[in-house]
Symmetry: D2
Subunit: 266 residues, 4 copies
Amino acid sequence: MVIVQEGERALLVFEGGFTALVEVRGGGRLSTHRGIVHFDDLLGQPYGAVVKTHQGGPVVILQPSLEDLMMKVRRRTTIIYPKEAAAILMRLGIGPGSRVLEVGTGSGALTLALAWAVAPTGQVLSYEVREDMLLLARENVGRTPLAPLVEIRLRHSGEPFPEGMDAAVLDIPTPWEELAAVRDALRGGGRLASLNPTFNQVERMAGAMIEAGFVQVDSLEILYRPILARPGRTRPVQRMVAHTEFLTFGARSLGGAEVGRALAGE
Amino acid sequence: MVIVQEGERALLVFEGGFTALVEVRGGGRLSTHRGIVHFDDLLGQPYGAVVKTHQGGPVVILQPSLEDLMMKVRRRTTIIYPKEAAAILMRLGIGPGSRVLEVGTGSGALTLALAWAVAPTGQVLSYEVREDMLLLARENVGRTPLAPLVEIRLRHSGEPFPEGMDAAVLDIPTPWEELAAVRDALRGGGRLASLNPTFNQVERMAGAMIEAGFVQVDSLEILYRPILARPGRTRPVQRMVAHTEFLTFGARSLGGAEVGRALAGE
Amino acid sequence: MVIVQEGERALLVFEGGFTALVEVRGGGRLSTHRGIVHFDDLLGQPYGAVVKTHQGGPVVILQPSLEDLMMKVRRRTTIIYPKEAAAILMRLGIGPGSRVLEVGTGSGALTLALAWAVAPTGQVLSYEVREDMLLLARENVGRTPLAPLVEIRLRHSGEPFPEGMDAAVLDIPTPWEELAAVRDALRGGGRLASLNPTFNQVERMAGAMIEAGFVQVDSLEILYRPILARPGRTRPVQRMVAHTEFLTFGARSLGGAEVGRALAGE
Amino acid sequence: MVIVQEGERALLVFEGGFTALVEVRGGGRLSTHRGIVHFDDLLGQPYGAVVKTHQGGPVVILQPSLEDLMMKVRRRTTIIYPKEAAAILMRLGIGPGSRVLEVGTGSGALTLALAWAVAPTGQVLSYEVREDMLLLARENVGRTPLAPLVEIRLRHSGEPFPEGMDAAVLDIPTPWEELAAVRDALRGGGRLASLNPTFNQVERMAGAMIEAGFVQVDSLEILYRPILARPGRTRPVQRMVAHTEFLTFGARSLGGAEVGRALAGE
């Protein structure tokens, strides 16, 4: 049994599937349209336990998944969807101890995913040009146990990044402008992922990566299609998120444009 | 710089993007339609380096990503696609130190993904009913550095699983038959993922999970759509993998069917 | 030049792409958030002409396409999307002079598509069990020039349909209950399409059709993905209609279940 | 009953769902891996009848649908899929008696669809720059009863098209180069559809159409997802056609660029 501890973040699931992510502090409470939950009722309970709102409705306490952490950050920009983050973690080849560079911190949601992947001993070094976003991201990351693995810095365009990074993620509108600096920061074989919403960006970035000597350059988009499973009436949902970002991946070779071009598929 | 060491598994990228996953042993070699690579040329090189085939063609050495490891296992059954594995890792809430139960080892590809996620200190306990698959999976996992984190056992239906597991994955045709045993193995709040190819299985399994007191039960499918990015001629690929498996997720509450039903969304 | 005539239905396109379908009667007018259009300004103009609202904004007059007619019917039930109607017309093999049976008139949108296809000399015979829907559909069809091709009747379950129909469309929740009657109404080689939202219905109906001796039985779903084409920023739309109806098709053979089964693909 | 006549084209359906499109001539025969069918056995039979191969296997005779006609043309270029043709017919607003311009005849498959839509009294005027394609298309169209509705001409770039066309379809790599000529050929309110495989073409063509005063300019792609309906094991197919062509639509206004821009949505 894993017990709910003071100060932990817990996901509460209410009737009808409605959820809330809370920080459990003695004396605290959460008021919802489903009733009030007193946090003193949560402390000392095992995760999975069923507690009651003041109206008697059932509430189940869960530990948040990485997806929950990402979806519940406060944000001012487009959300980074967990579906893209999942593919990035799978492709970047990072794990415990990796050092990852992120350019374009945004709200810090993807930063959390990268930190999750390099835990317990790696590091995520994230850069953001907008000071207001940097502060928001620090707050979002600081609220999680992953905070010690993350450092968020203000980006001054043109300055070099630290060298020897195992992987890099770019989430900025003109990623080709940072590409030379990112390549120099990556160790040989280090992988890069770029997130961009338009075809024009994908086309330009994939081309720039090949010219910068990256190999295994490819692009894709990811669709999650929810299925409504109900006895005798199972069907896909009627409306869905149809597009968020395209992903472009590559690995840094120690060769140049001629290697990038030679190894590119058709 | 990270240097290629004796005994490591490396991904070789050839002209046109063709790849091979090899174990680098001094004196070894790989013959391909693109020419021969001598492994003595790889040892001591940094990853990312460009070596030559005996015909002079360029080859780049990379460390395999988790996706590469999964896609290159030897298999006798349907492949578990990395796209499903990525979503599972994101949703199960597992990380360094987690203990994960897998029912239906298959070729061991998903086992590798789970081991990657719980490294460096967790454990994956995987069960398989077919002895030939079990041996194949042990071989596939044994070939990777993740092997110490994995134990693969023969499944005797009806026997209980060890208790206190943080998460569970079912990849078997009739997952509802193992559901009671899996629920008892999961700690409170532990999450479950089931992979199944047909709607009929999704409908039945989602219903069974709700009746077993699971909450946050939902189903989805994942589509990866490759984009061919080329200067002035960018378009989606013409044929794609359109369906592999549906995923059904849930978290174990310590309540029963009435809690499962009350918290289920429409 | 084709000139706007008294009593015709015209599609008006306003600034920003907003549209309205109107019946052009002298003295009439349409008030919108984009301003007022006086129909006297439309009469005598060629289609494609640019007229002005009372505020001076441009409005273009178009003849409605079949899609426009379908999307603008008044409805009380789920809409039949033109994407399904388009596939049905392509598959049913109907054209000028065909006689088509429709079971489940609904709002009459699909009825319009069928009438469009059999014009100028065919017939659509449509049945509806709900009297309120029948009246609505008659009103929707009656407002178009296709009305003389359509007859809408109240359906009394169990009664036979007229024989010798060239094709049939079923848009009802339990199409297998009408299947024997529909088969008897179809001439040999006549094709059938069934629209149903759930997998369960598709599975049951496809099986029932094979047992009823239908051949070329297959099912599919259709997705339209809008692309936002803008200079330098082209991308798919962010949210889309992900599911409406599955379609199941077949052709009536004069053989029975054994022929249906023998000719069914895997 | 509709009877198979000498000289008609019929679709034969064999065991396992395999199909062939044949011209039924007395004394003729078709040899397949499923056995031999003698056409004398077909003549005089009603459509839907079950005949036997010389080996005794069942064969059902059907009239070809428009989709069958399109899929069975001989071709040297990329196929025009019926799914795009279906959407085009739905959107162009054409019907019996319409006059349609096609630029880029290709194999003539889309030409057939347009002829089907304007039958029994309209006209399709189709232009092709390649003489070999023109001959192939004439042969493909000539084999069908739609031939009298179609005229295929060699295209000399720069020459004007006949005026007063009700709709136009462009299936060429650089449609913007023919746009001025096509606009002048279209009557006011006449609609245009362009088929193009890349995003770059869609972006450029949609922009050019707006500048040429077209309204209701929008782009989309169409996906058909086959469902394998089988008792207790229903699922989507595992591989599918993921991309063929994007479609861009618009209607000719009698205004210019300022009208196109004002009425364009975001």
